[in-house]
């Protein structure tokens, strides 16, 4: 048993330091204000402090730390994207993830599981090959595998899908992983707090003030903060924030739902995604099956759950895993996703001086947490968009120069 547990056991008192600061008043100004206390915002604060020595920073969170999509996603980390820019970006993120526990001295339960994206049609299989070829070019462990391989790795899956849309093959991504999503936000938050960053929960931004085209401050429900550099790192509220500075973006908000089963003894170590059936599943270290599907079909700014979601999900899931019919769904929930037309994020500087944007994270924001924080911190520190995120600039839409991720449009968690 690790010796640190010994320490806890032998001490009479529990004198662990705080992860996060107790609530305190806002200062009148900061060098940088980060809107959004989720994984991205906390990571940005952390890297600003750690790598750029910028610590006069306030993270403003309208709810609680990690309470948005950081705490609502299904925790999958992978880098088997279709475009070179996507692959480079997400692979950087994955490599950062691998060292985060060490970096934080906090176990984020980063667990490499292997990630199958099933192909049920020949056209899906073609897309898998496309992704595999691009991945291999960039040194990513990713390959198209046949039914025999899948049957060996996931022997309890019905590859014939009960006789309709049989699995023909899959894209297998061995580094695909899961992590404790909350712990990622907490680790970044603690690291930022320990370096002097202020974290203000239950603090809602109501207005961003500009003079000319320069940001000069942020109005919150707890008072005004003067500040020349503001970054929006929210999810589901990006259009509300960009509207404050008069910035138009393609982002629309669609709910994304998920559910978990009652816990059962772990039997499934891999992550399985089916684009055709629009479902994905992994088993958490508590033993719950964590399941999700694609975003809801219409715009909605709400985290309400729908019954059709859980009906559709379970119906499809039984095609792959018939035995799951005897398990029970315990809880469902929803998050709000920023959806962009090319399924790629919007990052970097904007036409408003001092206003930076990190949004459009759709359904894939969690896996980008470390790299987003790191590149956005660099961008703020240098007032220059980091080269890794240059392809994700807002102006790509005005230039008709979209990111090609849409080429392989499918559910892809």
């Amino acid at each position: 048993m690790p010796w640190r547990l010994l320490k806890y056991g032998l001490k009479k008192t529990h004198d662990e330091p705080r992860f996060f600061p107790a609530a305190k008043p806002l200062k009148s100004g900061y060098d940088v204000v980060i809107i959004g206390g989720g994984g991205h915002g906390m990571a940005c604060a952390y890297y600003l402090a750690k790598e750029h020595g910028i610590t006069n920073v306030a993270v403003l969170e309208q709810g609680y730390i990690g309470g948005g999509n950081t705490g609502r996603n299904t925790t999958i980390v992978r880098s088997n994207y279709l475009t070179p820019e996507g692959v480079r970006f997400y692979d950087t993120s994955l490599k950062l993830f691998e060292d985060l526990s060490d970096d934080f001295d906090l176990n984020i339960f980063y667990s490499t599981r292997g990630h199958f994206t099933l192909a049920h049609t020949d056209s899906a299989l073609r897309t898998m090959r496309w992704r595999a070829e691009v991945n291999k070019r960039h040194g990513i462990d990713s390959e198209v595998v046949d039914r025999e391989f899948i049957a060996r790795e996931v022997p309890y899956m019905d590859l014939d899908c009960a006789g309709h849309s049989a699995v023909q093959g899959a894209l297998y991504h061995a580094p695909g992983a899961v992590a404790r999503h909350d712990a990622v936000a907490w680790g970044y938050a603690r690291g930022a707090y320990n370096r002097g960053v202020e974290i203000h929960q239950k603090t809602r931004v109501t207005e961003i003030r500009t003079q000319g085209d320069q940001v000069v401050g942020v109005q919150t429900d707890r008072g005004f903060i003067s500040c020349n550099r503001v970054i929006s790192m929210v999810a589901g509220s990006t259009p509300r924030i960009t509207e404050m500075v008069g910035l138009r973006t393609p982002i629309e908000i669609f709910p994304l739902q998920a559910c978990v089963s009652e816990p059962v003894k772990p039997f499934m170590d891999t992550i399985v995604v089916s684009g055709s059936l629009h479902v994905y599943v992994s088993q958490s270290s508590r033993g719950e099956m964590v399941m999700g599907a694609s975003v809801d079909p219409s715009v909605l700014h709400s985290t309400r759950s729908s019954f059709d979601f859980v009906e559709g999900l379970t119906d499809k899931m039984l095609d792959l895993f018939p035995f799951m019919s005897r398990m029970k769904v315990m809880r469902q929930w929803a998050g709000m996703s920023d959806i962009t037309p090319d399924f790629a994020p919007i990052m970097g500087k904007t036409p408003i001086k001092g206003f930076y944007l990190d949004g459009g994270w759709g359904t894939w924001g969690f896996k980008a947490t470390p790299v987003s924080g790191k590149t956005m911190a660099w961008t703020i520190a240098h007032d220059k968009t980091h080269e890794l995120i240059e392809p994700f600039r807002l102006s790509r839409f005005a230039d008709f120069d979209l990111v090609g991720e849409k080429g392989a449009a499918s559910v892809g968690h």
């Binding site: 070829e133 404790r180 033993g287 005897r326």
Partner: protein, 969 residues
């Protein structure tokens, strides 16, 4: 050893029917009407399960579907909740989550390590060094989870049904039944649902022996069961509330999806435990749990009891124990001198000692309760210095209630803490949602009945469309039934807040002190409320603890969101019947008869090729050759087929497609390419002009519905006078292609097939084999070809006639694969294969289909005008040398230039007509237009050379599409 009581007046048992079952390998018997738990208790088996983390012994707690420490599994089910699962003959059950047997669980040692496992310990350990984490994770995963599953279990699917009602009343206790009656009397169509197999709610256990309740029970039960306007649904629980009062009711025969006009939640309250050391020992249970055991199952839950109380209900429970012949050693009241009502007076008359101002400091016993330590309590803490010991084998906790408010929260209700009742109560309810009964703070029977009536009247008014200001507080009690702090510290801990997760008081306090001092954060860090009971008996105490640590009120502290499901719902029932609609062409049987291998194309099944799977390649080659040299017939019924009629028909098509359609002459067709606003190709097909104001449009199989939708929307937004008819399902289509096509058709039709009478791209209507048909001269596969559109019911007849008449020409049916080769030889793209989600027509080498100069507008035109000058890639043809025998490139292999990706192959096939591999590739500019040779990286990693070439590969002048066999032979 039996703990069975004499028959109880309201018991659920059928004592004439005895069931045998086994638990942990040991045989037991019980009665019909028992739950698994009650049957085991009747036989003296009080150890029912082990706790999740420490594997501590646990027994019965609530008997209300919250006993998640008494989970069992069998050969064909898991996580069975013994407290509410009806006993059945032959059940063979084992405890969940034990290592070895329930009695000798080898994981009991974990409890001894508990001091080393503080809250969130796993976040702070196991990660250094990194390489050891997989080892530790494996160990942790071995201990995780509850019941086991068997991956060989087959799929169960339980059909769902729909229900409709004016008013759904959830909970058939006193207030719910009264609400249902009042509403039904007012003429509403009412559904009354209750999760228990019998209605009555707490009337039947808490008030089972209360004389005042008897006539009320009789009136309500008879009333609702006999009422023409009330449907009573026992054994169903409302799984969740969803938008517009859509409430799935989960029951033993599946889910009823109930759509209600309004909903009354009469879901009652959930009894909450007192937190003290070893409050989890078997023998410690909720007072209401013991009352359920006695009244429903005639179980004597113990021999000598102590009742811990902070309300009148505890005294009622003590009376019930006495009536069941159980010694009541004492009632311990948390408060001094509190008014506890007439039950307390009755108890006093029975000379049962009441120890006021005391709490249970500690429960003791080896594996089950043997004694309690009672100590003075000042409302905040105990003073153990003057503690006394009371031997007992049963301790009932009656210290407070939490509202079963899950559905209210899901509907968007706001609850607020009421200092009088020391309970969360509804403060603001959304439209159409009502609450009554103990959930709403109405505790006495009179209050509950009045509150049920009030809620029903409010619901009636709402359904009549009247605006109302409900007085939620009208019938509320003025006395607390919950203690604000039933929580007793102990230096040695094991005072459990959450039984699901084995969380102790100090775990929550420490989590809050570490900065997780927000209700949601503390939940996520400590996992309180995340177990299978979803916090039903832990959240309220958790909020009390957090509020106390941070020095805030309950309302300021807040509560976590209650999400569906109310109780976990079987996946079999959620999934329901499997429905995978499959569309079959009218010629499906013909294809099967001819040995076709079918493939899925969207919802359709289409022949991939005809022949045995081991003859795939040669079969496809033969089909291609038949089309090129003789005659082929392919079923293309899956194409979208839309009639466009009206004065503005041409205008609609001009605006919707890139090319001009208004200039098509009657009887002619034109290629139709559809792009979206951003200029991306979304569909292609043909448009044919039937008459001045009438067109016939085809669309690709997968996009036909969307194309119909798009056209119909343009009609609305452009204000056009056009009507559309989607005839995809009522028309079949087949393409007869090959040099003998005209020869075959000519004698069978009244249409003049002469080249000048019916030229390439022409469209004619007439009779073919006596069947009304529309013929279109198409060129997709690059031979003389006629696409024949006809009513589905005549399709098989025509197919047979053509196949038999074509025999002399060597006709062959051909499938999708052969068609892919044939069109590739002609350089025709397949939308979705040669294009991706961002491809525009310039990139697809189809600039000829984008008449920017001559058309001022069509959807996507402004984008294409911008994109024309800034394409970065282009679709090109390529070939490999004849006789190439190296590794074959595949679709989506990458083009590599100077070590960098420069494109990909989108289509590749062996062309029997050319005797070499040919294909299409999307290649970056300027490479696409500048290079004489490109490198492709194949599976082995080798780079092989391909040669760009002009399109089409075959019959560049297009002579074969327009000529007779005699002219090209």
């Amino acid at each position: 050893m039996t703990s069975r009581l004499d028959p109880q007046p309201l018991e659920w048992l059928d004592r004439n029917e005895t069931y045998r079952f086994t638990f942990e390998g040991q045989a037991y018997t019980g009665f019909r009407g028992d739950s698994v738990t009650s049957a085991l208790l009747a036989c003296g088996q009080t150890l029912l399960g082990r706790s999740f983390k420490y594997h501590r012994p646990r027994g019965a707690l609530t008997l209300a579907n919250h006993d998640v420490n008494a989970l069992m599994q069998s050969a064909d089910a898991t996580n069975i909740r013994a407290d509410v699962t009806p006993l059945q003959a032959g059940l063979d059950l084992r405890a969940c989550n034990v290592n070895g047997t329930l009695v000798n669980d080898r994981d009991r040692f974990i409890e001894r390590l508990s001091a080393f496992l503080p809250v969130g310990f796993y976040y702070k350990t196991f990660h250094k060094p990194k390489r050891f984490f997989p080892f530790w994770e494996r160990k942790i995963r071995e201990k995780a989870g509850l019941g086991s599953i068997d991956t060989r279990w087959t799929a169960r699917r339980q059909a769902k049904s729909y229900g409709f009602c004016d008013l759904l009343v959830i909970g058939a206790g006193a207030s719910g039944m009264q609400a249902a009656l009042t509403a039904a009397d007012a003429g509403l169509d009412v559904v009354l649902v209750d999760e228990n197999p019998r209605i009555g709610g707490s009337l039947d256990y808490q008030l089972a022996n209360d004389a005042d309740a008897a006539p009320v029970r009789e009136r309500l039960k008879t009333g609702v069961e006999g009422h023409a306007n009330i449907r009573v649904l026992p054994s169903h629980y409302a799984a969740g509330w969803y938008t517009d009062h859509y409430v799935p009711l989960s029951g033993p025969t599946g889910i009823i999806k109930m759509r209600a006009g309004a909903v009354i939640s009469a879901t009652g309250v959930m009894e909450q435990p007192s937190v003290f050391r070893f409050n989890d020992l078997p023998g410690v249970m909720m007072a209401s749990g013991a009352q359920r055991l006695i009244a429903r199952h005639a179980i004597r839950p113990g021999k000598r009891a102590v009742v811990l109380s902070a309300n009148g209900e505890g005294y009622r429970a003590a009376l019930d124990l006495l009536q069941a012949g159980i010694d009541v050693a004492a009632v311990v009241d948390l408060e001094q001198g509190a008014e506890r009502g007439h039950w307390a007076s009755q108890l006093a008359a029975a000379r049962i000692p009441v120890i006021e101002g005391h709490a249970i400091y500690e429960a003791q016993g080896k594996g089950r309760l043997e004694r309690v330590i009672v100590a003075p309590f000042d409302g905040h803490r105990c003073n153990p210095a003057t503690a006394r010991e009371i031997p007992c084998d049963l301790l009932l906790m009656s210290v407070g209630w939490a509202p079963a408010s899950q559905l209210l929260y899901q509907a968007g209700a706001r609850l607020a803490y009421d200092d009088t009742l020391q309970q969360l109560l509804p403060q603001q309810l959304p439209a159409g949602i009502f609450a009554c009964g103990r959930l709403n703070g109405a505790f006495s029977l009179e209050q509950r009945l009045a509150d049920g009536q009030r809620a029903a009247k409010d619901a009636c008014a709402h359904l009549r469309g009247e605006s109302l200001q409900p007085d939620l507080a009208a019938c509320r009690d003025t006395r607390a039934h919950s203690h604000p702090w039933p929580i007793i510290e102990h230096p040695r801990g094991k005072n459990f807040i959450d039984f699901d997760e084995d969380l102790q008081l100090k775990d929550l306090v420490n989590a809050a002190k570490e900065g997780f001092d927000n209700i949601e954060l503390i939940k996520r860090f400590s996992t309180i409320g995340m177990g299978p009971s979803q916090g039903k008996h832990s959240n309220m105490n958790g909020i009390r603890v957090l509020a106390s640590v941070i020095g805030r009120s309950i309302d300021e502290t807040g509560s976590t969101t209650a999400r569906p499901m109310f109780h976990p719902v079987p996946v079999s029932d959620l999934a329901g019947r499997r429905f995978r609609p499959e569309r079959l062409s009218a010629l499906h049987d013909r294809h099967l008869g001819l040995g076709a291998q079918m493939m899925e194309a969207g919802a359709w099944l289409r022949p991939e090729y005809y022949g045995m799977p081991d003859q795939r390649e040669p079969s496809i080659l033969r089909e291609v050759q038949a089309v090129r040299t003789a005659l082929g017939l392919i079923d293309v019924s899956t194409l979208g087929k839309i009639e466009v009629m009206g004065p503005d028909a041409a205008k609609l098509l001009d605006g919707s497609y890139t090319m001009r359609m208004s200039t098509i002459r009657t009887g002619m067709t034109r290629y139709a390419l559809m792009v979206d606003d951003s200029g991306v190709i979304v569909d292609d097909g043909i448009v044919g002009r039937v008459a001045e104001d009438r067109f016939y449009v085809t669309a690709t199989t997968s996009h036909s519905e969307a194309t119909y939708r798009t056209l119909s929307r343009h009609i609305v937004e452009w204000g056009l006078d056009v009507r559309l008819v989607n005839r995809t399902g009522v028309l079949a289509a087949m393409n007869l292609a090959g040099p003998h096509a005209r020869q075959l058709l000519a004698p069978l039709t009244d249409i003049d097939l002469a080249e000048d009478a019916f030229p390439y791209l022409g469209m004619r209507e007439g009779q073919l084999c006596g069947i009304p048909v529309r013929l279109i001269r198409v060129g997709f596969v690059g031979e003389l070809g006629y696409e024949i559109h006809l009513p589905v019911d005549a399709a098989a007849t025509l197919w047979d006639r053509l196949m038999s008449a074509g025999a002399e020409f060597g006709i062959r049916p051909f499938g999708v694969e052969a068609q892919r080769v044939l069109r590739l030889e002609k350089g025709h793209i397949i939308v979705g294969q040669d294009t991706d989600g961002l491809t525009n027509p310039f990139e697809a080498a189809m600039a000829w289909a984008v008449p920017l100069k001559s058309k001022p507008y069509f959807v996507g035109r402004p984008s294409l005008a911008l994109l024309k000058a800034r394409c970065s890639r282009k679709l090109i043809g390529f070939r490999l040398p004849k006789g190439y025998s190296g590794e074959r490139p595949k679709e989506c292999h990458l083009i590599i230039e100077n070590g960098e990706m420069a494109g990909r192959i989108t289509s590749i096939a062996y062309s029997p007509s050319l005797g070499q591999l040919i294909g299409l590739a999307m290649v970056d500019l300027p490479l696409a237009e500048a290079s004489l040779s490109l490198s492709v990286c194949v599976d082995s990693g080798d780079l092989i050379q391909i040669e760009p070439c002009a399109l089409p590969f075959y019959d560049a002048e297009g002579k074969r599409q327009t000529a007779d066999l005699t002219e090209v032979a």
